[in-house]
């Protein structure tokens, strides 16, 4: 499905959608650190109408060896790691579970509560924590620096406006937002070329990031039929159908293996306004 309308319309569309649905969602629980209070505008969740989705990102076969990161330029950061030193985080597997998979409802959501609470992205020992973060469009992202040295947080979305902020000391916090859905927004530090994070932005709170054991859970999902998409930075995307019943727990798991490496990994699509028309062309880099 390709959208063909002015983005101005799209911005309004969200407002209309919210009004039309009468705030039919409820308090949300994203998988990241954004579990917060329900937005005042959103009506309370009717527990009788929502369910939970949970599952695993499974990893089979040989686990790729992660490269060591040369942090010798920042001794303070390097000291924060054990004898093996810092390793890349592209593929983190533990007991057959794959961490850092961003899972979200990609089809079937017909309304959502407004974003509530703030998501958090920290910089600890010259790495981003978390490595993959999910947020709702419009949600505050509080970016902090736990390292007492210079980081710049350079976010390069294509659907949203980006930002590039310096934090030359520990204790600085920057608050940023992305206004429209975009999976994924790359974030990097230009001072430390190995620092990379991804922020998945969706229009609703029904998303999660798999934990170290590969598991995830999304609560308070209105009953219905959905398509779920799972995104991983090395293995690209895959989808699953899931049916949520009121009060029930639906299962949706994703199976990965090392041979999937090198897949097309979507970042935000570049939308190009076609001159002289109201059309927007979606540029895909495949």
């Amino acid at each position: 499905m390709r959208s063909h309308f002015w983005n101005r319309s799209a911005a309004l569309l969200g407002v209309v959608a919210m009004a039309a649905c009468g705030g039919g969602g409820g308090s949300s629980e994203g998988a990241a650190d954004d579990a917060g209070e329900a937005a005042p505008a959103a009506a309370a969740v009717d527990p009788a109408s929502v369910g939970t989705i949970s599952g695993m990102a499974n990893f089979g076969g040989m686990v790729p060896t992660m490269e060591a990161i040369d942090m010798s330029a920042e001794a303070d950061c390097a000291a924060g790691y054990g004898a093996d030193g810092p390793m890349a985080q592209n593929v983190l597997v533990s007991d057959g579970g794959l961490a850092n998979v961003f899972v979200y409802l990609s089809e079937g959501v017909s309304g959502a509560p407004a974003a509530s609470g703030a998501a958090a992205l920290d910089q600890v020992n010259c790495r981003y924590t978390p490595h993959v973060l999910g947020v709702q469009s419009g949600q505050d992202i509080e970016i902090s620096n736990s390292d007492n040295l210079l980081h710049n947080i350079n976010a390069t979305p294509t659907e949203n406006r980006g930002f590039n902020i310096s934090q030359p000391r520990a204790g600085i916090t920057s608050t940023q937002r992305f206004q429209v859905a975009e999976v994924m927004v790359p974030v990097r530090c230009d001072v430390h070329g190995w620092m990379q994070a991804y922020i998945g932005v969706v229009d609703h709170p029904y998303f999660a990031v798999t934990g170290p054991d590969g598991s995830y859970s999304i609560a308070n999902v209105p009953a219905g039929d959905y398509t779920m998409t799972a995104w991983h930075e090395e293995f690209g995307t895959m989808t699953a159908s899931v049916t949520v019943t009121a009060g029930g727990t639906a299962a949706a798991s994703f199976d990965y293996n090392g041979e999937m490496a090198g897949a097309d990994v979507p970042m935000g699509d570049a939308l190009v306004l076609e001159h002289g028309t109201n059309r927007i062309r979606v540029e895909r880099t495949q």
């Binding site: 309308f5 983005n7 990609s106 350079n154 902020i165 030359p168 916090t173 429209v180 989808t239 097309d264």
Partner: protein, 532 residues
Amino acid sequence: MMALRRRAFGLVAPGGLAILAVLAIAAVSAAPPLAAQEDAVAAGKVVYDRWCAECHGETGQGDGSAAASMLPRPRDFTQALYQIRTTGSGQLPTDADIRFAIENGLPGTTMPGWPNLSDGEIDDLIVYLKSFSRFFAQGPAPEPLDFGSDPGGGPAAIEAGAAAYLTMLCEECHGLSGRGDGTSAPTLEDWRGLPIRAADLTEAWVLNGGSSVEDMHTRMLTGLDGTPMPSAIDAMNSGVVSPDEVWQLAHYLASMGPREMPPLREVIRVGRAEGGLPADGGEEAWAGVEAFYFPMSGQVVQLPRNFAPTVDGLWVQGLHDGTDMALRVQWNDPSNSPDSNWDEWQDKITAALDLDGAEPIALDSAGAPTVRPPDAVLLQFPFEPPEGTDRPYFLMGDAREPVYLWTWDSEAGVGAGRGRGLDSVEPLAEDPVTGEATWEEGRWTLYLRRPIEIESDGLDFAEGTPMPIAFQAWDGSSAEVGKRSSVSTWYYILLEPPASSTVVVTPLLAMLLTGAFGLVLVRRAQDRRRDG
């Protein structure tokens, strides 16, 4: 596995009816008078297609026919990422910001200023440029940041600014001396993933946002979108530096080198050394000697062309003692090539640029280049003293008129050669030139020494006779080898004769005679007019 793409807005779409309703609302709320807007777009397109499209591309994606030779690449207007803004990081520019870039160009890049365009043409062009990106159609017009007011400069402010430079850790990229040689400099990439330099703050005239204190201050608070240069605004708001300290830092940056490009001087005056020639390029011996600046530009006459040269100018000082002459040549280059820290940079440059006509790069079994080229500079002179204004071809001469070369590179050191064009250089067996070079904090200092007159190679410098001189330079870490160089045009070098009494008296006499002759001419003319 189906790669299902994110859909920008579909997730909240309640259905087709709502979309239609919204489109209707959008049509009503499209405030700008549409007819006027369309006229401006059409007029702007004419200007754009004529002057801009060759680099920025017909569709505004920065992919015009000339783009592949350029680093940084021309702006991609569809992303609406503008470096030079008065608005916050990630914000759209104001119309005035876009006008500033069109009128002044972006020094240090291939973007020139456009004084040929009228105000009206630029107005139309701005409308057209904005129409390339959907972002401008959204939301209210961007507002400039509040930059506060400059508490003033002076030595104390500059000293405080120098401290703020370190507090903000500017040196991580820009280097302690500001020459763009910081630890992180070799790894920097722009939003396209292409290599981009940390600005050389000592050459303010090639800073693309302007060189005034206000410009520096603005760039720090807004950042340069699409580049690694971040906004310092959160660091300021959280008290790491105060608003006054950011202004002081701007004063410090503005003090790091000349504000404007040094004025062009045609002649390097090589004065007579009092108390012997300097034995090396050390600062002490050369401190009082006048330095002459010569701008360099990329070699673009022959393939492969160099539109993004590293060395954009050099400083030359000279002294002689009647027997020998010594020159000191200094230029900024953030890498002491070959330097393994810059190997990836070199490979990225090679991959990013259209090196049409370049020699194929020899690769080892791992796919890495077998040769990491050195930095190099050469000085060229005519082989024969010139008659009149006739000089050899400025790109290292030709078969008819060869040039005499003083060569230096960071591996082979100093030598002499004969050039018959960029393709044809032979070393000279008799090698009277000696010298050495040192690299420190992003700057080369080359010391050269040679007898003024020698019998073997035919090139003699005569005191009091201007000798043509031209320069060429290479940064190995930026894959500058062979014809991919920086070049200058011809200038002159003049060994000043001893300050004897005749030297002082002759010009005085000449001035007196000229004055008297002029008076006679004027009288006669007046007489004639009276008579007529």
